[in-house]
Every structure is written in structure tokens, then in C-alpha cells.
Amino acid sequence: MRGGFAANWWKFLGVGLLLFAIPMAWLGNVSVQVILHETIRNLYFHVTMWFAMIAVFAGSVFYSIKALRTGNRLHDIRAEQFAQTGMMFGFIGITTGMMWANYTWGAPWVDDPKLNGSAVSLLIYMAYFVLRGSLNDPIRRLRAAGAYNIFAFVMLILLIGLMPRINDSLHPGNGGNPGFGGYDLKNEMKWVFYPSVLGWILIGFWIAGIKSKSAIAKYTLEEEITES
């Protein structure tokens, strides 16, 4: 790690938060409710994946904006790596959600605005990778993929914000279901949930940062080989 503790403290914070949050997710007190019972612990594992996904996608959009403004290819590589990391969180989020839904709703996939929103977000980023894959010229790829990333992310945020207001969700805390409301959730659960969210976001940025460094190293190596 370059830069010592001053530049990397957030990685330690991320690990520390999760070292606290993961054992507490299994062992801590939870508010046991009808149907949900102990599966409410999935809150710590499943819901946090979505927060991490959106945060890492936002990081990808940040680098896309930078790439468009400066024309720097390294930012474009970072945007791609952040999007890949976000996809990983998205797939884990879908898998943990389907496992949970299988036991509480009786089916792994049901018609629910949040499920559809998550499916669409994965579709959008698959389309993003298809677009990147079909452009060979790096400058064109930077511009087209960068513009699509920004456009799609804004539409995704609108979708996520809007969908639950159009259709009631089956998710806990939505449409009159118990769950995340003020008095449904024990206060001590928040003390595990919020650190867990922050921890996974930090870990997500760490993973994406390592992936970016590796991709940039590969890119510069290839550049040097073609130049020599």
C-alpha cells in the first residue's frame, strides 16, 4: 500500500466495520416478526449489497464524467472496472435476495418493483459492457460508453426512486409490510446495519481500486510493448 496509513485509513475502517458487523449479524439481537422470523438477518447481507452496488456505480459514473471532460483513457478504464465491481455486488444481491424470497415469499422471483428495478440495473450495465465490447477505437469507446454510463445511471436512479411509488412492493417496510419502519426495527439492529452498509461500500471501492490499478498496469504495459 502506497501512501501509508494517511491515504489508506478507509480500508482499515472498512475491514474493521465488517469485522464488527458480520459476527453481530449472526449473533446480535433481532426483532423477530411474523413470516420473517430470523430471516430478518438477511438485512445485513442482502440490503447492504444494493447500497454497495449503487455507491460503486456512482463511482463509475464519476470516472466517466472525468473521462469525458479530460479525454483521459485511464479514467475510462477506472469507470469500466468500477462498473464490473458494481455488477458483482448486483449479482450477489440478487442471489441473496432470491434465497431469502424462496423461504419467505415461496418463490425465488416474484413480480415486485424492487426486483424489476434490480433486474433492469443489471441489464443496463450488461448493455454498457456490450457497447464497450463493440467499439475497438479507444477514443470512441471512451465517449460513447461514458455518455451511456451517465445517461443510464440517471435513468436508473429515477427508476429506483419512482418504481416503488407506482407499484406497492412486497419488500419488508413497503406497502404496509412490517420491516424497516421506525418501530419495527430494533434500535440495536441499526447499530449493526449502518456500519455494515458503510463497510461494504468501502470494501467495494477498495476492490474496484485494486481492479483499476491492475487494468491500468496491463494497459500501460501493452502501450509500452506496442511503442517499442
Binding site: 443496463i124 448493455a127 463493440s134 465517449r143 460513447a144 455518455a147 451511456y148 435513468m155 429515477l158 419512482l162
Partner: protein
């Protein structure tokens, strides 16, 4: 700027109607799609199904119409436009022209639909209002996305892949609002959906205006 955009819309129309067979193909596309629906479903009793089918046909036919917006000019014409115009003027005029084209397609689809599959729409004027709003969001999104897809040289293949997931929120709001109009509910009960559609239009047009300059340079 407005007069230049108006001029560009006229120019787009000129290029489009120069090849009347291509323009005609859009309407034949609509008629044959609706006919396929008609022969597959025979008759649609359920207003909800009718509505969903209608919007899917509109989405596909407007994709088909917008696809060509960046292929009308040849390379030299595009280079000339690039030197003389601002990117904002180009994208706004293309969106405006595609909007008119999409409206014309909706205007063509609705009677064919009503003729073959029946017309369950009770509140036709609100339905038309929703169609006007949805057509704007469709054409603006697809115009921007087809500019991106055009970079790959495979616009026809990539525009739906890139555009459909992005357009889904618009489609869902439009289907919901149009369904209520079809059922004849009072507009006061769902006017907020129309406002949401209008807001989508504004967001998409502003984003196109901001992002197109990067796609335009080549």
C-alpha cells in the same frame, strides 16, 4: 438558434421524404406488426392486454423510425454539418424531427389497432395526451442512444439493447397512465403520472443536450 433548429428540422424532413419508400416502410412495419398481433390474439378482450400490446408496438416502431436519424447524411454531409453547426442544435432538431415521426406513427397505429383489435379506450383525449408525452421521452431517449450505437457501425443491433432497459421506467409510467385513461378514470386521479412523464421528457432532453457534444466529435 431557434430558427436554425427549425431549418434543420426541415432539412431532416427533406432527407427523410426524399426516399419515400423508406418512410412508407415505417407504416408498413406498423401495419404488419399489428396484423401479427391480430392473428396471434384474434381479439383482445382485456383492456390491460390491449394497452400493453399497443405500447410495445409503439416502442418497436419508434425504435425502427429513430434508428436512421444518424445514417441519413453521408460522411461528407456529416463533416459539413459538424463544421457549421453547434452540437446542441443538431441533437435538438433530430429529437424534434423524431418526435414528429413517432407521433405520426402513433397516429397510424391507433386506428389500425382499433380496427383489428377493438378499441377499449374510453377517455380518448387523455390517452392522446399521454401518447404525446410518452412519444417525447421515447424519441429523445432513442435518438441519443442511437447516436451512441451508431459509433459501433451496428446501430440496428445495439439501439434496442442499449435503449430498452433505459426506456423501461418511461414505458411503465406510460402504460400505467394510458391504462387509466383507457379505463375512463377521472384524470384528476392520476395527473401526477402525466407530470412524471413530462419530467422524464425534460430530464432526457437536458441530458441529450449535455452529452451529445461528446458523441458528435469524431
Amino acid at each position: 438558434m431557434v430558427s436554425r433548429i427549425l431549418y434543420l428540422i426541415k432539412y431532416e424532413a427533406l432527407l427523410e421524404f426524399r426516399n419515400k419508400a423508406l418512410t412508407g416502410s415505417l407504416f408498413v412495419y406498423v401495419i404488419s406488426t399489428v396484423f401479427v398481433c391480430y392473428r396471434s390474439f384474434r381479439s383482445v378482450e382485456n383492456a390491460e392486454t390491449w394497452n400493453a400490446l399497443f405500447w410495445i408496438v409503439v416502442l418497436f416502431s419508434s425504435t425502427n423510425a429513430v434508428l436512421r436519424s444518424f445514417q441519413r447524411e453521408n460522411k461528407n454531409q456529416a463533416l459539413y454539418l459538424y463544421q457549421t453547426l453547434k452540437p446542441g442544435e443538431v441533437i435538438l432538431s433530430k429529437i424534434a424531427f423524431n418526435y414528429i415521426l413517432t407521433l405520426a406513427l402513433i397516429g397510424g397505429t391507433l386506428p389500425v389497432f382499433a380496427l383489428l383489435l377493438g378499441n377499449p379506450v374510453r377517455d380518448i383525449w387523455t390517452f392522446v395526451l399521454i401518447a404525446f408525452l410518452a412519444a417525447g421521452a421515447f424519441s429523445a431517449t432513442l435518438t441519443l442512444v442511437s447516436a451512441m450505437a451508431g459509433k459501433t457501425g451496428n446501430a440496428a443491433g445495439l439501439t434496442p439493447v442499449l435503449g430498452f432497459p433505459v426506456i423501461l421506467p418511461v414505458l411503465m409510467v406510460a402504460i400505467k397512465a394510458a391504462g387509466k385513461a383507457a379505463a375512463g378514470e377521472a384524470f384528476t386521479a392520476y395527473w401526477d403520472l402525466a407530470v412524471v412523464l413530462a419530467a422524464f421528457n425534460a430530464v432526457i432532453v437536458i441530458l441529450s443536450f449535455l452529452l451529445f457534444p461528446y458523441l458528435w466529435r469524431d
